[in-house]
Structure formats: structure tokens, C-alpha cells
Symmetry: C2
Subunit: 358 residues, 2 copies
Amino acid sequence: MKNVYIYLLAFASCLPVAYAQNKKVIYHELPVYGKLFDTPSKYHRVDTLKYNDLPVRVKHLFTNSAGLFVAFRSNSASIHAKWCVTDAKASSNLTSIAQKGLDVYIKNADGEWQYAGSKGTAKTCDEGVLVDNLDQTSKEFLVYLPLYDETKSLEIGIEEGANFLALSNPFQRNIAVYGSSIVQGASAGRPGMAYTAILSRRTGLNFINLGVSGSAKMEQEVAHMLAAGKPDVFILDCVPNSLPEIVSERTHYFVQHLRANHPNTPIIMIPSVVRELSYFNQVWNKRNADQNAQFKKEYETLLAKGIKHLYYLDSNTLLGTDHEGTTDGTHPNDLGFMRMADQIQPFVIKVMQKHNLL
Amino acid sequence: MKNVYIYLLAFASCLPVAYAQNKKVIYHELPVYGKLFDTPSKYHRVDTLKYNDLPVRVKHLFTNSAGLFVAFRSNSASIHAKWCVTDAKASSNLTSIAQKGLDVYIKNADGEWQYAGSKGTAKTCDEGVLVDNLDQTSKEFLVYLPLYDETKSLEIGIEEGANFLALSNPFQRNIAVYGSSIVQGASAGRPGMAYTAILSRRTGLNFINLGVSGSAKMEQEVAHMLAAGKPDVFILDCVPNSLPEIVSERTHYFVQHLRANHPNTPIIMIPSVVRELSYFNQVWNKRNADQNAQFKKEYETLLAKGIKHLYYLDSNTLLGTDHEGTTDGTHPNDLGFMRMADQIQPFVIKVMQKHNLL
């Protein structure tokens, strides 16, 4: 199912209009993108009633809006938002922009998604200006939703009299990325810096964020849920949360179940980043190495058993080599995420080209 | 006044010792480095009683511990901290690690300062492990203090029986960096990612953080305070907070006062980063351009008047060119700070070499 890049409605002409400050703001709800499945709860990533046997913590995390976004076109001189999240406490390794806030990108003259502004909040419901003092040409906007909270509602506001048009998902194909807090986006400084979001903007492909914080433990129920989707590629970046023996125990079933249900879909395995704290913390050093050794071993066993279209991104420098790529020794900062994207992007593109998916 | 890299006390031999978990932790106070002046309040950057005529907001901000750090040697298997800050609210563009937390670096086998761990807090007083499960060799540690709060107290804990030795400031020379929130470190993910801290670790030079959030407005009283110091280099990265007309009005006096009191000290002027929001926000676009145009014009006027040893880092790509280098459109994320450091470092080194300061 390709997301074809069309306008959902015929677009009215974009006449330049003079805007007064403090002009009345008109709010709109929009369809939400970035999901593997349609969900009855608009801002959830997975239907947690349908997949009721998922572990409780995993279900909870799939209610977080990581990777979700809305897209629209407008010539409004300012873009506003009203949105609600929960009263979940702030995490020490996240800004409130990343955890509970919104991030705006605009398609620039080169056709690239360019960062334009953000708004965080310490409240459960907030409203305000996202970007302001824009020229009055018609523009395409992306607004990313909070990474680490459940979005309860979102309305996008434009100035009265401006054009407004919901857009379809600008990203093509579907690449399901199952993983840990790193996939979910800790510790990006803002929602658009999760590596899945960076990759989508750069490639035009829909990297779907299925990160579940500390709970990416490859349970069978998660494999069943993922296998019910129909992505073009699966990416498994789910090593960091499991002890080495759990990686060893669960990887085989997980991959085989996806393969059994999707005989020709490429599956890309990504080892854990080398946690920066592991260079000095000897316990983490061993665990980190053992986790990745087990994951690689399972990959080789699966290959030996004849599992096709399986790929392993064999890198221990996903965060770079200067040791500055994390916020807390585990979670990439925006520097670390950029470096991850720099390594993951060509690997995924090559796999997709090989499979005639590009 | 060079900070010679000597141990303050003779160092006892570093015998490997077996450490039990939950071993008793012994706490120590340490001298605080990263200041242009000695201060009666240990965790303040400036003596705000002595410089009582500074603007109230500037005085307040100099009580924030941005850029301050402690240094010690130990063979403890874990490093702990007890510290207190104020009840100031969290900023939406900062993690609590950056705002109120601590950041640990260890000198590695190559003699480089390597990141090892962090701890943030939402409390006014907290205590806990900073790094853990270390091998039992003797190591040198740096611990950075909170960027955006007043540190009220700090004690560093080591396991009972381990060696502990306060170190002198490992960084040589003094480079006084006066500036805005960007100098103070918003929006680094953690204290060690403020660009002054990155530059100190990379060069071994003491880049002193005199960032004052939104209040770097080049008041005469600030010039007088700075001129009372005796750094080897002055860096003025103080454009972002002032309207263009204020930049125009105040730069000349500010630079001339430093020059009059320090005839041979290099003064480096750094324009405002191009705020990412300014690419779409037309008001900011004009203001940002006008601020920098005025700063450059003042530089040229000062040169024409015969002011010597004055340098201008003429760049409009301090944050890079992909527009991803900020957390909120204004404040660099760790990606942006790394890019700033990459451009500022060679410029400063060249100036210092020219002046036989290296």
C-alpha cells in the first residue's frame, strides 16, 4: 500500500493575503500518519485492544505518539496548536519539547523538509504559536507529535482567512522499525530528531516508529502483532533491553515468525549501540558485548537454516567514535541520532534497491 | 596565571583493591574550577557583591554554575555525588541533566577526556551514583556542574578505602567567553556539551563560560567586570540578545574598554548563529541579519580606529547547513554545539598561536 503523494482536497489558489497580528485562529483536526496499522484511538500507534495479549508495559508504550505526525498545506502567516498529553512526569534525559511537545518542518524551495520551530510544555493541555511571521506563500508543513507521552488531542490552528488543506502522508513505502527507547527517540532534543524521523525526511520513505522504551524484549506476542502488518521492510533494533540470554532465547522465533508470514520481506537486524557508559562500566561492557554477540549468532544460525532476505548491520560505531553521542551514556543525543541515521540510511537503501523496493 | 597541571597532594600508590557493592561511601568537597575570578560563593561564577552594579538579571545568572567543574583522581569502583540546586522550574528546551545535573568525564588511555556518565534531577537536593562498576585502576575525573541553576553544594563520594586526591585545574590559560544562552549551554543535552566545555576538553585550554542566558546585552558594567579579569583571550559571543540598535550602540564601548585595560589581549568577536527559525520567520530573519551586520560594522569601525588584536569569526554556518542543529530554532542541540566547536576551535587556536599564547 503506497502512500501516494496527492492532496486530499483540491487546493484553493494561494493568493497573498495581508495578515494582522492577533488575527482570529481557526483550529483543525488532521489525520495522523506514521502508523503501521489504522488504530481506533487516533493517537495510538497500535490497537491495544485488538492486540490485547501484548505485555502491559508494551501496550502502554504503544499509546505514546512517537513518530506520529500530521501534514497540511497552508499560507497562514502563523501556525498554532492546541494539544493535550498526560500528566506523566518529565524524564531527566528528555526535554519537554521531545517528551510532550511538537516539532514543525516546512518543505523548502529545494523540496526538502526543513526544521522551522518547536514548542514544549509542562502542562497536560497547552496552546500557542508553533511558527510565526511566515511569508504568505503556500507551504507544506509536517508537525511531529510528542515522543514520550500519549497525545490525547491535537488541533492545528491557522489565521482566519488563510488556506488550509490536509495532505496525505508525504512518505512512501512502510519500513517498520521495532526497538527500544533509542528507536522511540530518547534522547532526541525534539520529536523530529528520532532517527526514524530523520530517515523519513531524508529518504522520502515512511520509517514507522515502533520503539517501546525499555520494553523491547522480543516477546512472541510482539512478533505476532508485527507480522499482522504489511510493511515493505522490517527493522529490528531491539537488542538493548534484553539480557544476552533473552536475546539468545527469543531472536530465532521472532525472526522466523516474521519470515513465515512475510516470505519475501527484507528483515534488517541492527545490534545495540555500544553504550557510552560501557567503556568504563565493566558490567555494562560485558553485557553490551554479550547482547550483540548473541544477536549476531542468532543471525548466523538463521542464515544457516536457510532464512532468506535477512540482513545484519554490523557496526559498533553507530554513535560515532568521539564518545560524545549520548545524553546519559545510553540514549543518543541529536549528534548520536544523526550518526545513526548516517549509517542506517545507506544500508537500508541498498537492501531496498536489491529487493526492487526503490 | 597558568594553571599548572600538578597534583595538589602527593598521590598514594594505586593498588588494586577489591570493592564490595554497597560499600560505605565517603564524601569529599573539592575546589571548583572554570571561573575567571575567585569568588566568595564557591559555586558562583562572579562575585556579585563586588560587582554589585551589574544588572540584577545578569548578577542572578552569574550565580548559575555553567562551565564550573571539579577534578580529582581516584581508584574507586564507583563515583557518587550529593548536590543541591534551587527549586527553579525546568525549561522546556533543557533536560534536567543539563539544567540541574552532573556530567562525568574520565581521562582515557590516550590522555583524552572521555564521557563516562551523567545524572539529572528534578529535586533540589539529590544523591546517587554517577558512574559504577569501574575497574580498579587510578583514574582522573572531571565532573561538570549544572548549566542552568545555582549549585548550592556538591560533594563527590568514593567507596571507603579507595584513594582520593583533589586535582588542580587540568586546563591551561584562560579564555573568557562572554555571551548569551548559547554560551551558557542551552540546549546542550548535558553540562559537558556546552561549547566552552567541548573546546576545553579538546584543546586543554580553559574556556571560561560567562554566558548569561537572555541577558548578554553588553552593558558597560559587564565590560568593567570583564576588564577586571586577566584572561589570555576575550571572546565576545554576545549578539543574540540585543536588538540591532543596541549592538550598534554598545559594542564600541565594550571592546574599547577591554582594549584600554588589556592592550595586548586578543579579542575575538563571534556573530550570532543564524537562528534556524529565522529561515522562515521574517521578523527574526531581518533582526538576525541586522544584529550581525551591526556587529561586523562595529568591528570594522574599531579596526579603522586602530584597535589592534581584534578578530572577527565571519561565519553564517556556525550551526551547519542541514538546519538540524537546534532544539528550538535558537539554541544549539549537541549536534549544533559540536559544529560550533568545530569552527571556533581552529579560529581561536590560530589567534593564540599568532600571539605566542600556545
